[in-house]
Symmetry: C2
Subunit: 204 residues, 2 copies
């Protein structure tokens, strides 16, 4: 009865095919232009077939959203080796910002768009988000323990750090930084200077 297993494998392969196509189209043309029909066209199946493998469009983008978190997670974990928690905090922030600036569409899906969060509501918890946030929490806990940063409630401090880098990246990604009336290059420099200043103010 290996047929059932083969069928399961084929089902998973088809899901992967859809996700790969959707991801590629999403990164090339953005969310709105990535329609079910365009994905179907790309993989040379009918639009209705996609609904045999995914409940709706949101479910597809929820998977892409999870994959994007894996990517960010990998980049953040590169700094595991940094012993000093405050230095690690700085590295995490810079890497987070760089990720957002270099992958604006992924960042959008992860932290700005409503679409994948609709899916999350049916799940009770935001797994991917919790993982990255958890990493920030442990780093900050170390910072507080070693009195590297000003004493304050752990969660309040975490929200402070995350909101801050998210504010910078999301204003940049959604093109509100245009009020500075500077080139993209200079704007990004200001973003990084601003983060450095923030870190300095956080220090004891």
């Amino acid at each position: 009865m290996a047929i059932k297993e083969r069928k399961e494998r084929e089902k998973q392969e088809m899901r992967n095919l859809i996700i790969e196509s959707a991801t590629q189209l999403f990164l090339k043309q953005g969310y709105d232009k990535t329609s079910i029909r365009s994905i179907a066209d790309d993989i040379e199946y009918s639009p209705a077939t996609i609904y045999l493998y995914f409940k709706d469009k949101d479910e597809i983008f929820y998977v892409i959203h999870e994959n994007a978190f894996d990517l960010l997670d990998k980049e953040l974990r590169q700094h595991d080796a940094i012993a000093d928690p405050f230095e690690r905090l700085g590295a995490l922030g810079r890497t987070y910002m760089q990720f957002g600036i270099e992958n604006p569409d992924y960042y959008d899906l992860m932290f700005i768009m409503r679409a994948p969060m609709e899916q999350i509501k049916n799940e009770e918890k935001w797994k991917a988000g919790e993982c990255a946030f958890g990493y920030l929490l442990t780093t900050l806990a170390e910072c507080l323990e070693q009195k590297k940063i000003r004493p304050a409630d752990l969660h309040v401090t975490a929200i402070q750090v995350w909101s801050y880098v998210h504010g910078l990246v999301s204003l940049y990604v959604r093109e509100r930084m245009c009020i500075l009336m500077q080139t993209d290059e200079i704007t990004r420099q200001i973003l990084h200077s601003s983060f450095d200043l923030f870190l300095a103010n956080l220090k004891t």
Copy 2:
């Protein structure tokens, strides 16, 4: 030849009627569900008529976006009388956050959504945004002058403040604060505590 003037007046009245209906529907059902057809239905005209008064849907929402900025501006100007610039800065931040939390749809349109910015690109400058940002700049300039906050570049500091409050509000509005796994009430309290902490760190 007062006919021309009356015609102009009627044209403006029709534009207002459309904007009023669109605003009301937008605040009730959000952007996506506010279709041209639903506005047409509401004002009892055909959908095509709307296109005689507005170029496209974006142009309608650009006007709503401007009105929302007027609203925020009015609330921010309430603090003009506060003599101490640092105290005024705190009041501005709290009012900004409150505005976003109480008017999530307006906030979305003003600082998160892509739609109205397409319109803004054709205008060379972001009038409404510049006005509010300018107010922040002058307040911060006073703070720096009177050495109420840590010395730093004016624009970098402004971006820092704005990004910070925007980060808090936008994560809240787009439901990412769910990682805290707290009630809405407590989440909002954390938001405010976080801002207080931020201000304290900014102080000299």
